[in-house]
Symmetry: C2
Subunit: 149 residues, 2 copies
DNA sequence: TTGATTTTATTGATATATCAATTATATTTG
DNA sequence: CAAATATAATTGATATATCAATAAAATCAA
């Protein structure tokens, strides 16, 4: 018999998965309302690139917890859509300089309200203390999962 | 200017994403130690099928927050690996009856320790109160994201 | 400066997520 | 019962995740 016990332990991580999926679905639904054919991940990369234009693809990947291979492909799609330009870096020809096009800036502008809406919707009714505690617990879990045991 | 403000709001959902990815990576690493070429999602479906053998694919999908299309493909791989059998349902020929093979049972048995290890590792040092509070907050977020606003 | 190593990014292969369209079977309705 | 509708699962298309292998350029070391 291979009993899988329903400990709070198990429930919590299951609920964590549920929460992130629910949040991602909400985000995509709200993006769909203002923008055609843009994914949550594409929107995220636009936001990050606008905020940190000097980062390399690897640095962006680390920042958003994605693989560098995923970044390559997401950026490719953003370039295809005309939201981003990619040019060889001035001083290091292994890298690329990524810039939002006018259309990219426009897209991002249209998304700012949506981004705020997503966050406010997801966290409605939570106090600052509750959020702080939640954040602390998340950090502990991350530390537990990443310390090279 | 398209200022993206670093509110606690934003940070929390970012950290949530980080936590689930760190946890998934830990799980995969630990599975890799005892089992060759089995993914976290495949292991999850084995666990669920063992526990709830009578569920339809759609019901399993709902239970683990996956799409029914994803379930079809994961099950296909488990059948290919010889861990699962899939036979047409007795009374409803649209459905399938899914059963762990002997090898599937054996695989699951080898994973039970790993599953417990994953959970204990991820949640080490967290008190029951902290976990309960964490769970409550997650449920609020889920409710916020899923209520048809 | 050449040769070894490291860094940055791409590519290929496979797995999963999501949505839409389709197929097959069941159920409901008139 | 026949027609309409609903349900269960598959399939196709596209996006993303992950790992391994590769290519190109930069850096380090002898």
């Amino acid at each position: 018999m291979y009993m899988i016990v329903d400990t709070p332990t198990q429930t919590v991580l299951y609920t964590l998965e549920q929460a992130i999926k629910a949040y991602r679905k909400l985000c995509q639904q709200n993006i769909d309302q203002v923008m055609d054919k843009l994914t949550v991940d594409q929107a995220l990369i636009l936001i990050v690139l606008n905020k940190y234009p000097a980062l390399s693809q690897q640095q962006i990947a680390d920042l958003v917890f994605k693989d560098k291979a995923s970044l390559t492909r997401i950026i490719e799609l953003l370039v295809q859509k005309g939201l981003l330009t990619r040019e060889i870096h001035n001083t290091d020809r292994r890298k690329f300089e990524l810039h939002l096009t006018a259309q990219g800036q426009h897209t991002l502008a249209q998304l700012t309200d949506t981004i705020q809406l997503n966050q406010r919707t997801a966290l409605a009714g939570l106090t600052e203390e509750e959020l702080a505690q939640f954040h602390t617990t998340l950090q502990k879990i991350i530390a537990n999962c990443t310390t090279p045991a």
